[in-house]
């Protein structure tokens, strides 16, 4: 790493997921190999081909002030809850408001609120629309509410890139600190899209698992029997901070946010490039950006959504990008338990990757009964201890790929 560059560290974590309403319960669920996927019993789901999903463990509205909750889309509720946890975890730092930024993204935004508002419009007329309709449907609503709550004035951003949105937000947050725009950035992603339209639309792409009779076994990344992803919901947040600022206030550092690598497939709007060259480029770039050698990498939290096309391409891309050093890397596909949180995925999985690094244990990948052939990577099916491979600090990666061809890889190294 360049010695003159601002080092960024992680000083706070927050999450609300299908496995728990906070980081600790989510992490416990991951280590226990617990599935958050359940049957959809709502009437609206009865005609859909996919009738399973991974709801958040707790209704977010019950964790918020009543008046605030009714002005927020469910994805904004998740975002605020995870942001508060991350901020408290960081010790609610005192910081110059003009040096505090927010980057919070969502793949889809307030789609449930959009549809509800449209029903109101059709049935009752425009006069009955809530004046908070626009703030509820706009994708940057979560970022806006969080910046108001924290008084963050360095900038309020939303990096939308479908299923890599959350990871891109964290990368953008790192860049804000490195470029000198901020000392602290709260960054992450959120999603609340378990509704009829989304399930139908993803089903129309043939992207969803239809293993309706075995919800817990439906999300099975890298397994030969995988048949699509399972929609999840929730949010993940991290507090990023310049190492200097963190040291000055004596903050606990959970990891170094060492680098970010971006690339674009420029191939297909929704399918991965078959040879994985976009993913390979993103992984090579994150190693270069972080100044991390391939043989420092001990763990990758893979994007691995459980779709037939994506998982094997990613496994090959990781093996190619890391070269022979991949033999010492333990992969985890935590979507096997959480489902796919879309714009929240990259953020929740960054939280998981940081905890894996800090706790020195890779979470399991459940449902991997019959691994795809010649996959070329070592996938944890039980919690696996992580150990430094040499004298250099341990590094972990988090991959996130989004429709539109977006590839984002993040690197975290041991504090």
């Amino acid at each position: 790493m360049g010695t003159d560059r601002t080092e960024v560290v992680v000083t706070g974590l927050g999450a609300i997921t299908p496995l728990g309403a906070d980081v600790t319960s989510t992490w416990d669920g991951l280590l226990a190999g617990r599935s958050g996927v359940r049957k959809l019993t709502d009437d609206w789901a009865s005609e859909l081909p996919a009738r399973i999903a991974a709801w958040a463990a707790v209704d977010p509205a019950t964790l918020l002030d009543r008046v605030q909750a009714r002005r927020l889309d469910r994805c904004e509720q998740f975002a605020i809850i995870a942001a508060r946890e991350a901020w408290a975890h960081a010790g609610a730092p005192e910081v110059d408001p003009e040096r505090l930024g927010v980057v919070v993204s969502s793949g889809i935004g307030g789609v449930a609120s959009t549809l509800a508002a449209y029903d109101t419009l059709r049935e009752k007329g425009w006069q009955r629309l809530s004046p908070f309709t626009v703030p509820m449907l706009m994708p940057n609503g979560s970022a806006g509410w969080i910046s108001i709550e924290l008084g963050a004035q360095a900038g309020v951003h939303t990096t939308v890139s479908a299923c890599s949105s959350g990871a891109e937000a964290i990368g953008y947050g790192m860049d804000m600190i490195r470029s000198g725009r901020a000392d602290i950035v709260l960054a992450g992603g959120t999603e609340a899209a378990i509704i009829e339209l989304n399930i139908a639309a993803f089903a129309a792409m043939r992207a969803l698992s239809t293993r309706n009779d075995e919800p817990e076994r439906a999300s099975r990344p890298f397994d030969k029997g995988r048949d699509g992803f399972v929609l999840g919901e929730g949010a993940g947040m991290v507090v990023l901070e310049s190492a200097e600022h963190a040291a000055r206030r004596g903050a606990t550092v959970h990891a170094v946010a060492a680098g970010v690598g971006y690339s674009a497939d420029a191939h297909h709007i929704a399918q991965p490039e078959p040879d994985g060259s976009g993913a390979i480029l993103a992984i090579r770039r994150v190693l270069a950006d972080a100044g991390v050698a391939a043989d420092q990498v001990v763990h990758v939290n893979a994007h691995a959504t459980s779709t037939p096309a994506g998982d094997e391409v990613e496994a090959r891309a990781i093996a190619t990008a890391l070269g022979p050093a991949v033999s010492g890397v333990v992969l985890s596909a935590t979507k096997s338990m959480t489902g796919h949180l879309l714009g929240g995925a990259g953020a929740v999985e960054s939280v998981a990757a940081i905890l894996a690094l800090r706790e020195r244990v890779a979470p399991p990948t459940i449902n991997l009964d019959d691994p795809a052939d010649d996959i070329g990577v070592d996938i944890a099916t039980e919690p696996r201890e992580l150990r430094p491979r040499g004298k250099a600090p341990m590094a972990v990666l988090n991959n996130s790929f989004g429709f539109g061809g977006s590839n984002v890889a993040l690197a975290f190294t041991a504090a």
Partner: protein
């Protein structure tokens, strides 16, 4: 059907509690929305929408801006519901 002033005040108290989180017992006739109850212009629109549902009285925007106190709304709803 006309409502009494007390009924309208009680209904308005419920609306303001729901919309803005101000306890109904604080919604007394002399209170101003902006200065006393800390209710912003978007929330005033929500209150007007809810009042339409509850009292069957439409409050047009050009009237809404002149309703400064709780008593102003009570009076408006009474007049409008009598004439309706």
């Amino acid at each position: 059907m006309s409502m009494t002033e007390q009924e309208i005040l009680a209904g308005l108290g419920e609306i303001i509690d729901e919309v803005a989180g101000v306890p109904a017992d604080q919604v007394t006739p002399e209170k101003t929305f902006v200065d006393d109850l800390d209710i912003d212009s978007l929330s005033m629109v929500e209150i007007a929408v809810a009042a339409q549902d509850k009292f069957g009285v439409e409050i047009p925007d050009d009237q809404l801006k002149d309703l400064k106190t709780v008593q102003d709304v009570v009076d408006y709803v009474r007049r409008a519901s009598v004439s309706a």
